[in-house]
């Protein structure tokens, strides 16, 4: 009799608990997030935070969608298909200056992974040698820094817009190509060209160490969901920290995401990318804390954007752009 009472109490307790969880679930804020490219280790922190339930823990119901090769994350944001997106700082500043009411609430990457790469066999060994050569740049934009670099170095290059592959470079249709250290550079290595057969120009080494990936939303969204976005940023950073400590698990998640999207995938390349991303999100020599944006970096990005901007928001302030 006594036993039965305990059993009944336990049952009631668990039913209440379950009801509680259920009610929490029902109250969770829905957020749609889109990273700025197809699934890859560049976004490992988001996959980990989702898989580990870090978003759930802070009461968020996050849905992760990816942009397609032809539709950017910013477009998803504009169309209201995503509440939060990630993109490059330069891209975001440029869009903001050009009138899109974007605000940033977390800066993930603290460094630039952008570089120019040439084959040694092309005979180019210094910046000056680039003069008059063909440079492949993504058609999707993100060309302000390379252009600033060419301008500052007084280099004239024939610009060839390319979509996303390295094949034109491999087949020597272009002499040089802007690549990300964490991605295309390693793709070139993975296409059978050895490191020692390449000459690299890291733009960070030439003074353009401008941070890249950050989290963005529309001003209106920030106004209405400030707390949730803050939680989203925290959970994301937690995801990145976890990814750094559990690389094999993270790679497994990344490769699964890529597989789901029918993307070519292998751990070798994703491991390289994850390692580089973890380096990029570490502030190292910059006096900035994890997830924050250094004001000088913002100002430098703004300056570069404004070099080529026609009109737009001339006096963009840091606190109007980055929500600490």
């Amino acid at each position: 009799m006594h036993k039965n009472t305990i059993h009944s109490l336990c049952l009631v307790f668990f039913l209440c608990l379950f009801a509680g969880i259920h009610s929490v679930h029902a109250q969770r804020e829905k957020l749609v997030f889109s990273p700025h490219w197809l699934p890859q280790a560049q976004f490992a922190g988001f996959y980990v935070a989702l898989d580990q339930g870090f978003y759930e823990e802070v009461g968020l119901d996050v849905e992760l969608i990816h942009p397609s090769a032809n539709i950017s994350s910013i477009n998803l944001l504009k169309e209201g298909k995503a509440d939060v997106v990630s993109t490059f700082l330069m891209d975001a500043v440029k869009r903001r200056v050009n009138g899109l009411p974007l605000v940033s609430f977390a800066q993930l990457s603290q460094h630039s992974a952008l570089m120019l790469v040439v084959k040694k066999s092309s005979g180019i060994s210094s910046v000056a040698d680039l003069n008059g050569k063909k440079l492949g740049i993504w058609s999707s934009g993100f060309d302000d820094i390379p252009f600033a670099f060419l301008h500052d170095q007084h280099i004239e290059m024939e610009i060839v817009r390319i979509h996303s592959s390295i094949n034109l470079f491999l087949m020597e249709g272009i002499d040089a190509m802007t690549v990300m250290n964490y991605n295309e550079y390693n793709q070139i290595i993975n296409s059978g060209i050895n490191q020692e057969e390449l000459v690299t120009f890291y733009l960070a080494d030439y003074g353009y160490d401008i941070p890249e990936d950050g989290l963005y939303c529309l001003e209106s969204t920030y106004a209405s969901k400030k707390e949730s976005l803050k939680k989203f940023a925290e959970a994301t950073l937690k995801g990145w920290a976890y990814a750094g400590e559990n690389k094999e698990y993270t790679l497994h998640l990344v490769v699964n995401e890529m597989e789901k999207a029918h993307l070519p995938n292998n751990k070798s390349h994703q491991r390289w990318m994850l390692d580089r991303m973890l380096e990029l999100i570490t502030p190292t020599n910059k006096n900035v804390s994890f997830g924050q944006l250094l004001p000088s970096d913002f100002l430098y990005a703004l300056e570069l954007v404004q070099r080529n901007a026609n009109g737009g928001e001339k006096k963009l302030k840091m606190d109007a752009f980055f929500m600490k």
């Binding site: 390319i162 070519p264 995938n265 292998n266």
Partner: protein
């Protein structure tokens, strides 16, 4: 095992030789087989790869001809602008190999006011759909399939890609530039493409099977796996990411050679496959590279299996050989053991022992005959020996009696004259054979004179002993107190020389000592000179003339000599059995050594002196058989003592 030693030795030798011979032959066989297999595997690898490439090219080449023809048609303007879409649709429908086809125009080429136009026909279900590829979201000018051939002005096979939602298959696009006439000038007009599914290609490459786990694979110009038995690798991995994941830097080197279009046969030790050969060569059309993987272990698996079989058969064969050899050898040599047993039986005197049955081998028959002959000869010999032995025993018995008689003739009671204190005399005769030819004798002629003699008959044995007996008898019968020593010897000589058909003779020394005054008269007939020991210190030979022995010349007249012996002087007489005693190396005892021995024992009594001389001889010959009679006599003269 002792009894098996011969067979054991034969078997060991046969087995060793067989094993060495077999091992040599097998090593040569193995080496050549291996070389041949390697050679044929190389040839096979090349053949397989070339054959596969031929099969692929047989599909690709006609496919490539379609855009080629199309470009010619566009350049010649034989397709009306409004018929391009239906034409493409028909082209796709009529060519099952093609999944889709497009003609992408450069700005202003299709129509002067059209910046971009790319009619595209593709399969959808059982039908063909047509669309314009261009859209603000799809800028075909920067797509690889357009941009690369447009910039490089050459045809281009794209990297393989997975066509999601359309073909749902791995595709590759073949693009080739076409040209148009614009105001009399041939200008670049755009790109013609065909998309082909790579399923058939995968099938062709997959059909290459090499042994158990060998396979063929295809990689693109960027090293991406187009086909591979591990489906997961296709399009996901390049050979370089694979090399990185497997941590096999050598695979990366091979991959680099492959994408450079090199043709080579290399070997690599891969952790997951073991040691493999990779032959790679390029597909001329797509410039992709085909690799054929030959697992080294499996390449020789047949040989190793055969080797194992041969080794097992060899072991079995050797065991059989061993068994049969033991059987045969034991069978062949078993009569030897029986022969041995028979030989022992025969040796023990059983000449009726049956010899073993020996089979039909010539050698054994020979041995049997020899044994049989030996048995009969032995039986005969033993019978003869028994006769001889009984005869010999009889003779020996008679000789023993003769010896006893002979020894009985010579005095052997010492001291011989206990009543005569003036002298001490001792003598011994040791025969070389049962009966000897030496003699000695002594007797009193009267109260004061003692007659003594020593002689050595030529030859030995019975004749010598008979001659000795005669000589001694003659001495006793001839000697009397009135005769001189020379007369006695002359008389004996005469008697012995008469009718001496056997030409025997005797060396003879006869002396008569007057114990009253010490005068020694003597006659020497060819005998060794006695030794005179004066005053127990001075030792020397008698200085005498050596006359001829007795028994040779009937008419010979012997002469007498005389010497005065002082009291304490001693005489030592001997036969040549002493002075000519030989050791093993035929070294003589010798006169000098004799004198030395006597000198050392100069103060000894006659008996002690003779015993010392006997010992010295024994020491000298060291067990060498005594070849001659050994006779010694010594007389110590004390003179007339005041008793």
């Amino acid at each position: 095992m002792r009894t098996n030693r011969l067979s054991f030795k034969i078997i060991i030798r046969i087995l060793t030789f067989t094993i060495l011979l077999g091992a040599s032959i097998f090593s040569i066989y193995y080496y050549y087989s291996r070389t041949e297999i390697e050679k044929s595997a190389r040839e096979n690898a090349v053949f397989l790869a070339e054959n596969t490439i031929k099969k692929i090219e047989e599909v690709i080449r006609p496919a490539e001809m379609i855009p080629n023809n199309l470009s010619w048609m566009l350049e010649s303007g034989s397709i009306p602008k409004d018929s391009i879409l239906p034409f493409l649709a028909k082209l796709v429908r009529n060519n099952p190999i093609i999944y889709a086809s497009a003609i992408a125009f450069e700005p202003g080429v299709f129509d002067s006011d059209v910046d971009a136009y790319a009619p595209y026909a593709y399969r959808k279900g059982d039908g063909i759909e047509t669309i314009d590829l261009w859209s603000p979201d799809y800028n075909y000018f920067i797509m690889d399939w357009y941009q690369i051939p447009a910039m490089l002005k050459t045809s281009y096979w794209s990297e393989p890609y997975y066509d999601e939602g359309g073909a749902d298959a791995l595709l590759s696009t073949y693009s080739m530039p076409f040209y148009v006439d614009k105001q009399g000038e041939r200008v670049f007009g755009g790109i013609i493409t065909i998309d082909i599914s790579l399923e058939w290609l995968t099938e062709i490459v997959r059909s290459v099977r090499i042994f158990e786990t060998g396979y063929a694979f295809l990689i693109s110009r960027a090293g991406v796996y187009v086909t591979h038995p591990e489906v997961n690798l296709i399009k996901n991995h390049t050979i370089f990411t694979r090399a990185d994941e497997l941590n096999e830097p050598e695979l990366r080197t091979i991959g680099r050679d492959m994408i450079r279009g090199e043709q080579a046969l290399t070997s690599i030790d891969l952790e997951h496959l073991g040691y493999v050969w990779i032959y790679h060569t390029q597909l001329p059309s797509t410039r992709w590279s085909l690799g054929v993987v030959y697992p080294h272990k499996e390449m020789f698996a047949g040989l190793h299996k055969l080797t194992l079989t041969i080794i097992l058969l060899t072991i079995f064969g050797l065991a059989l050989l061993l068994f049969l050899t033991i059987r045969i050898i034991n069978h062949q040599i078993s009569p030897l053991a029986k022969f041995a047993s028979s030989a022992r039986s025969i040796a023990s005197g059983d000449f009726k022992t049956e010899l073993p049955h020996v089979g039909n081998s010539l050698e054994m028959q020979d041995l049997y005959n020899s044994f049989d002959y030996m048995k009969k000869e032995l039986a005969q010999y033993i019978a003869h020996l028994q006769e001889t032995t009984s005869a010999k025993e009889k003779i020996e018995s008679e000789l023993r009696i003769a010896k006893e008689i002979q020894m009985g003739m010579i005095p052997h009671i010492f001291p011989p004259f206990p009543d005569l204190p003036e002298i001490d005399l001792y003598a011994t005769l040791l025969s070389a054979k049962e009966v000897g030819g030496d003699l000695y004798d002594f007797f009193l002629l009267d109260d004061s004179r003692i007659c003594f003699a020593i002689g050595d008959v030529s030859g030995k044995g019975i004749p010598a002993s008979l001659f000795m007996a005669v000589t001694r008898t003659l001495l006793r019968s001839t000697a009397d107190k009135d005769k001189s020593t020379a007369e006695i010897v002359t008389s004996i000589n005469k008697t012995l020389s008469l009718n001496n058909e056997s030409n025997m003779f005797v060396t003879f020394f006869l002396g008569i000592l007057d114990i009253q005054n010490g005068v020694l008269k003597y006659c020497n007939a060819g005998h060794n000179p006695p030794i005179l020991i004066r005053n127990k210190t001075d030792v020397r030979f008698f200085n005498i003339t050596k006359a001829i022995p007795v028994g040779l010349f009937e008419m010979y007249e012997y002469t007498e000599e005389s010497i005065l012996i002082d009291p304490t002087d001693q005489i030592f007489l001997y036969t040549d059995g002493l002075s000519e005693a030989e050791d093993v190396d035929h070294n003589l005892f010798g006169d000098e050594y004799l004198l030395e021995v006597i000198r050392q024992n100069a103060s000894a009594s006659p008996r002690s002196m003779i015993e010392a001389a006997t010992k010295a001889v024994a020491d000298h010959v060291k067990g060498h058989t005594q070849s001659d009679d050994l006779t010694m006599m010594s007389i110590n003269y004390y003179g007339k003592r005041n008793l």
